[in-house]
Symmetry: D2
Subunit: 154 residues, 4 copies
Amino acid sequence: MAESAAVLGEARVRVRYAETDQMGVVYHANYFVWFEIGRVELIRQMGLDYSRLEQDEGCLIAVVEATARYKAPARYDQELLVRTRLASVRGSILRFAYQIVRAADEVLLCEGSTVHVVVGRDMQRRPLPEQYRERFREFHIPDAKPDKSQEEAA
Amino acid sequence: MAESAAVLGEARVRVRYAETDQMGVVYHANYFVWFEIGRVELIRQMGLDYSRLEQDEGCLIAVVEATARYKAPARYDQELLVRTRLASVRGSILRFAYQIVRAADEVLLCEGSTVHVVVGRDMQRRPLPEQYRERFREFHIPDAKPDKSQEEAA
Amino acid sequence: MAESAAVLGEARVRVRYAETDQMGVVYHANYFVWFEIGRVELIRQMGLDYSRLEQDEGCLIAVVEATARYKAPARYDQELLVRTRLASVRGSILRFAYQIVRAADEVLLCEGSTVHVVVGRDMQRRPLPEQYRERFREFHIPDAKPDKSQEEAA
Amino acid sequence: MAESAAVLGEARVRVRYAETDQMGVVYHANYFVWFEIGRVELIRQMGLDYSRLEQDEGCLIAVVEATARYKAPARYDQELLVRTRLASVRGSILRFAYQIVRAADEVLLCEGSTVHVVVGRDMQRRPLPEQYRERFREFHIPDAKPDKSQEEAA
């Protein structure tokens, strides 16, 4: 992903005590919360604002699929980087891909993807507002090839 | 509280893995989530329905104060009892008191209280619907005396 | 799955207020917490005890992959059934499959799967204790047909 | 607290979607998670390291009491400042006080306090290592007067 740095969302999180479990590492469901932080940050870096999209346009980006593969455990107080890429935009369907690495040594801890559908407050599918759709198309980075991290979309 | 068993809310929860932290015990903020389970269960046992109150009446019971005192740690997979009492009803202000005990041996793990104010969807204070207010007054159990566990209400 | 009812884990959860988000439905990461409740309940119904496995054997069942597909939103205070199946056991690798349905009408809300590897306290892979391995083999229900991980939707 | 800026811990958090609930605001238990972020940050700003204290010294700082008073709701994507003060150090008992303000306009959203006891891995009380005790004494800021926000310590 190095060559796409300009359009790559990157968010920084520090592992909270509440996010650990008695195994001494981060509880696995929390990575999905971090994916979302990455997603929102990417949208912000595109010059858009997810909370406005909800408030002003009544558009919600509901999750319809979420996958994570855990490579190495994250631990309390570590700083992590959440790298997010908008992998595809088709009609009202969006797919984001994520990598979470340890900030200190860039070791990959987790990668995953989420698929979303744009809905209104009534939870019925609706088109993305034009401004967002164009921006999303402009910034999306398709999968390089049917590689390991995205095989579920093949 | 023994003599008030008839009007005492009791809910049962089993500690989830996600609720533990790397100390090997339950993370302290989760007790407030359990307090809420107790509160909703008490309201249900009064013959009322909190989700209806929100949906039909547009009434939210917002938390304005929350306190917990931790006596002994809860651990993964333990069954707990959340005992809830409606301690006072004054206008649109409600106070609930809680005890969380281990189901196996009735050891007290945590006690606490929450103070709430009834608000509308606009977050402005409003009176509780008559049906709820009467029911709440009927079922509330004032503090026995100004004892240690409720001094914040004194 | 109907014919396998005897070995099917079923756990019941009620949606907590803390599990909802401002979209008015359950936040998607929480389904993974419920998957775990189903998993632990299935293990219990097999006559085993996950917390013992950790404490007595020093064996942790770490998550290496987790997937969920969301079909319809779960809402506050609804009762849900988490149905869990041990889909495969190969060496120290386990795969569980889940369906979450609304208790009131059996509508499917979410399905998913998790892959686990058995590790010691040092997070290094190790074999499952014999007693557990046998029990797991006896109770596992392979996918109905050889598709990727989505067979439970067939 | 303005005059104590030099020794005041300040941490910055941005409200996560997962932290909101269907009331459209932050779920109240999450403020205790933020209090902890403030506490750990304050300890870091004192030149100490809480995760080291746990790992190297086997010392845990267990919560024995936690209180929050909610003044105004925090909302999704808002930036918040968590201001933490070590209010008292007596033997192995510590008390921290917190204020959470909205970064944009410094409006106070929540204030609270937590009381902690230093324990070993066996959850039995033990003294704080000398290095930490001295540092804590040096940096602690007693309550200005027995005012409303700290009456529980009076």
